[in-house]
Symmetry: C2
Subunit: 438 residues, 2 copies
């Protein structure tokens, strides 16, 4: 009889490397990792545990990996909508940011955003914003896994006078969290239109030397493409490749306006893509050539973007939106089938973040980042195929339990590590502040 910290019992466990008709199983968890997955009887006779979590009538699957977010924009949710991108940024988002951004604001907003991610079954997120040290504190308080980067821009922004200060801050944070169980620091050059070639090349060198992930925005709008053609005589991805930016571990967000040649370039250089369907639709930015990426072997993952442009953090919604709209755009309902979408939101996200050895699927030895979904709800009954339901029928309401690093962060939809009332009070405080200053 071996000892586990926790046993998740009798769930419909989704194991991607087994047959798709995953059966009822139990999972033993120890020291933050999956110790064993087996038939319930075998787990019962092989392990004792300190605590047990029933997964009867539940799907048990890896937590969602959100590969592009701005978690500290929570308090700007719905501040302005239905506007063109530049009007939205110039007249609403940037003025609000310049007035309210502070370490305290970022910490509070990140706490809300991290808690909201947990409610949406997200166990790892890849974020870019300011004061990433504060986001790290919030993530650790909630207990969510995070890759955080400080947005690097070549002009004065937030608390910085120039991009060198942001690079220095990033390195300091990277040193601080080097051995952290939950938080990693990445480099976050914002985009080709906010960082000059020098800055991008400086970051590339530092990232290679420190084996850091690089997270950037790429080809979100047609304007970005046109400006790049004018300025560099190259399309955005071609330009980045020409300056050596892709000789590195890179994830690019949006990746909408890439032609076939650029798509192949991403595949060749092992650049991963974070798709943000809701945000791209809402801002009318365009849609990413996902089928092209998949055909060429690019790692495609899903991100929520910030709530200011989404306006929620539901990965289930991103899966459904992405699958459905690309069927229409390709005039082919067989494109992006349900099982691919579930993988895109989990193991492909882990690959995109170069963390697939540790997270993204349920496998002995991997981190116990696990979510449970209640199947006893009207909108998911009857169930013939869990993958179909995950992509097309489930909503976050059915996400009942969330474990990260083997710890229960949400149980029966109640957050364990934070008091929700505190978050509501803070949200109201900042809403009033932001409203008055408008």
């Amino acid at each position: 009889m071996k000892t586990a910290d926790l046993i998740i019992e009798n769930g419909l466990v989704l194991q991607y490397d087994r047959s798709s008709s995953s059966g009822i199983s139990s999972i033993a968890v120890k020291d933050g990792r999956i110790l064993d997955i087996d038939l319930p009887d075998r787990i019962k006779s092989n392990y004792n545990a300190d605590s047990y979590l029933s997964a009867i009538d539940k799907i048990v699957m890896p937590g969602f990996v959100n590969t592009h977010s701005h978690v500290s924009m929570t308090y700007f949710r719905g501040l302005a909508d239905d506007l063109p991108l530049m009007e939205w940024l110039n007249d609403h988002i940037w003025p609000a940011e310049s007035k309210h951004l502070s370490a305290e604001f970022v910490y509070d907003a990140a706490l809300h955003g991290c808690a909201e991610m947990i409610k949406n079954g997200i166990t790892t997120f890849n974020d870019m914003y300011f004061y990433c040290g504060e986001v790290a504190k919030a993530a650790k308080k909630i207990g969510i896994r995070a890759i955080l980067s400080e947005g690097v821009l070549d002009f004065p922004v937030a608390q910085y006078q120039n991009s060198q200060e942001i690079i220095d801050y990033t390195i300091k944070q990277h040193d601080k969290f080097k051995h952290d169980e939950l938080v990693q620091i990445a480099f976050g050059p914002h985009a080709i239109y906010t960082c000059g070639t020098d800055t991008l090349q400086k970051i590339t060198k530092l990232a290679v030397a420190r084996d850091m992930l690089v997270h950037t925005h790429l080809s979100e709008t047609k304007t970005e493409l046109e400006d790049s053609l004018k300025k560099h005589k190259l399309r955005p991805a071609e330009y980045l490749d020409s300056i050596g930016f892709f000789d590195n571990k890179v994830i690019v967000a949006h990746a909408i306006w890439l032609d076939e040649k650029e798509q192949s370039l991403l595949a060749e250089k092992n650049v991963a893509v974070a798709i943000n369907t809701s945000s791209n639709l809402k801002l009318a930015s365009g849609f990413a050539p996902i089928k092209g990426y998949m055909d060429k072997g690019v790692t495609v993952s899903l991100g929520t973007d910030g709530v200011a442009s989404n306006n929620n953090l539901s990965m289930l919604e991103e899966m459904s939106y992405t699958a459905k709209i690309h069927k229409l755009l390709n005039e082919d309902p067989t494109v992006l089938p349900a099982e691919d979408m579930v993988k895109m939101a989990t193991i492909e996200g882990a690959k995109a973040l170069r963390m697939d050895n540790e997270i993204g699927s349920l496998k002995q030895g991997k981190k116990a980042d696990i979510i449970l979904l209640n199947t006893r709800d009207l909108n998911v009954q009857p169930m013939y195929n869990p993958y179909s339901h995950l992509t097309y029928a489930f909503s976050s309401e059915q996400i009942s339990d969330v474990l990260i690093d083997g710890k229960i962060i949400m149980q029966d939809r109640k957050l364990v590590t934070i008091d929700e009332d505190e978050l509501f009070n803070k949200a109201e405080y900042y809403r009033n502040k932001i409203r008055e200053n408008k």
Copy 2:
């Protein structure tokens, strides 16, 4: 002091005909209708009530009007996905229907579907399927408002040998429910490719004589358009107009492949449209020219279609999908702003069903079909504008209470008129039956 049956107290009441900054109000309900809406203090001092419902921290708004559904297809949810329309119908849906369809099946499935609609805040739905008398029984058992039609097709289907039998059944049901508080019967000629000109004209005459709504599918697929051009030398809407079909109260579902001339025709003939965005995306059918319809003054409403092709019944999702995708398709993020979407899902739906004198907005004298949404959830905090959040941030999880005809049908997300466990048992029974016969 006057007497009310129920008072909904202290909610953020959305009244479309007032300023958009609807304040905190209370609503007095009596005999199934809205008796008064006023400031909480005034309602308190003017009315006594048998019961009270607190709406503190809640939005109070008209229930959603779902203008196109097949509620009895619930048990086929996720039976087959990611397939071309004809393969999906021929190899999966139609064989399952032909094997399992019966009065009992339709009643049970409709009960599940009606309960699911309540959970999604739908208080009125416009349905087409078979055994509509059974659907009526289910709707009345749950307590949901319904317009029901029996799908008319010119070939043997369900329990019928020919379309005349279906027409006769429709008339019988119409007589039966003529004075019903909740259920109305409409005519449901299925489509121009399943009904001949004779049948369509016969229905038109009967509907005019009896002042019945006519509910049909129109231009869902490109094939339907091409076949019509071949057969009638007219586009589908032109053909229907040429045979007098539009000289009547008509609502058409899907309405995707209509050109500018056909769009104008719908406006001129006061034909309403039911948009089914999720279903159309998932089956890659195309997208309706909503902006064209709105510019020309066509009444545009939203439908969920059946769960076999959606695969859920969330009107909030339809609002969000529709707003976002049409921003992208029109390359203009100002298209379909949030407030328009909320109206599309409520008062415009009521107009489409010619029921806007009775339902679709909160107004003295109208039916008390009211839903409450909890604003104290992380995904809808902070809130600057309720319309924005309804379209982009709320999910059905926040729909806490549903009143129809003044009666509480759901309270704190618990169904009042039906035992959910019974529905789960039935769903499992049919799932096993359907699976075994596959």
